[in-house]
Subunit: 184 residues, 2 copies
C-alpha cells in the first residue's frame, strides 16, 4: 500500500458564497511535490433518496438543472442540514420535493462524484412505506413527480434526460434489491 | 412539458486557472426570477474507460485523489483533449494510466455528475481486445493497476475505496453486458 502524500500547505483560492476552492501543496511518498486545487463541499454531505411507492414504483423528479441548462429526470436529492442526520435529511427532501414521507428509511451506500477534485459525499437512501405529506420547498417552479415501474428500468436508462451518475447507480442498486440480479 | 427558463444574463464570478464559475440570471416560465452559480467544465467533456482483459477481467486503477484526500479505486478516466474524439481520448488514457491499448472501443452511454451546479459530461467507453502499450502520463507517482474478475463484482461494490458514482454505474452496466442481468 502506498503511503498517502503529506499536505504541506493549504491555501484558500476563491469563495463565491456557493463554491469554496482551496489549493493543496502535497508531497508524495516518492518526494514528488504537486499542488492541486479542489472544491470543498460540506462535511455533512448530501442525500439521494430512492422513494418506492407500493412494491414496485419508483418516484423520480423532473426539474430544471442550471449546471446543464436543461430539464433532468433523477431521484430527489439535497444537502444535509446542520444538526441533521442523513436519514432525516432524506425524509425532509422527500416531503419537500415529492410530497411523501417515509416510515422506513435505509442507508444503502455512500458515493463520491469526482474524488479527484471535489470533496463531496452523497448518502444513498431507500425510502419505503410512503404516505402523502408535504413540506414547503424553495423551488422556483413546481417539481414534476414521475412514477416509474421498476420492471421498466431499461427504458429509464435509455432516456436522454436520465444522465446523473448517482441516479443511474442508484437505479441498478434498487433493481437488484427489488428484482434480484437473477430476475431481470 | 414545462418551458425552459430564459437566461437573462451570465456573469463570470471566478476563474482559478482550474475552475471557472459563472452566475446565471434566470426567468422561469411562471415569471419567477432566480440566480444560480455553476461550475463550467469543458465542452469536450471527459471519458471513463472500462478496460476488459480477456473475457472477464476488469482493469481498475488505484490512485490518490486530492478532492477526498485518500486513495480511491476506480476505472481510469480523464479529459478529452482539443481536437480529440471521445474514443481516442479513452484509448490514450488507457495507455497512460493502465499500460494497454484497445483494438475495440465502444461508447456505452454518457453521464452527468451534478447537473444542478456543474456543466460536465463523461462518456463511458468499453475497451476490449487489449494489448500492452504505454504512453507517458503526468502522474506524480506510479498508478497501481488492479485486475478484478467481473464475477466478483459484489466484493468490489463493498470496498470502502470504490465510491465514485460513475465507476459504480459503469460496473453495473458492464456486469449486465458481460454476465447478462439474468446470470449474476
Amino acid at each position: 500500500m502506498t503511503q498517502k502524500p503529506t499536505i504541506r500547505a493549504r491555501h484558500p483560492i476563491a469563495d463565491t458564497g456557493i463554491f469554496t476552492i482551496e489549493e493543496l501543496d502535497l508531497e508524495f511518498a516518492n518526494g514528488v511535490k504537486r499542488s492541486y486545487q479542489r472544491l470543498v463541499g460540506s462535511e455533512r454531505g448530501a442525500v439521494l433518496v430512492i422513494p418506492i411507492l407500493g412494491d414496485d414504483t419508483l418516484l423520480l423528479i423532473r426539474e430544471y438543472t442550471a449546471g446543464m441548462n436543461r430539464y433532468e429526470l433523477a431521484f430527489p436529492k439535497g444537502s444535509v442540514d446542520v444538526g441533521e442526520q442523513p436519514l432525516d435529511a432524506a425524509n425532509r427532501e422527500l416531503q419537500e420535493e415529492v410530497g411523501y414521507a417515509a416510515r422506513q428509511l435505509r442507508l444503502l451506500t455512500s458515493m463520491t462524484i469526482a474524488p479527484g477534485y471535489l470533496y463531496h459525499t452523497t448518502h444513498i437512501v431507500m425510502a419505503r412505506n410512503l404516505y402523502p405529506q408535504r413540506l414547503p420547498g424553495d423551488e422556483p417552479e413546481p417539481i414534476e413527480v414521475v412514477p416509474w415501474k421498476i420492471g421498466d428500468y431499461r427504458r429509464l436508462l435509455e432516456r436522454p434526460d436520465f444522465t446523473e451518475s448517482r441516479s443511474i447507480a442508484g437505479l441498478y442498486i434498487i433493481r437488484d434489491i427489488l428484482m434480484g440480479p437473477g430476475n431481470s
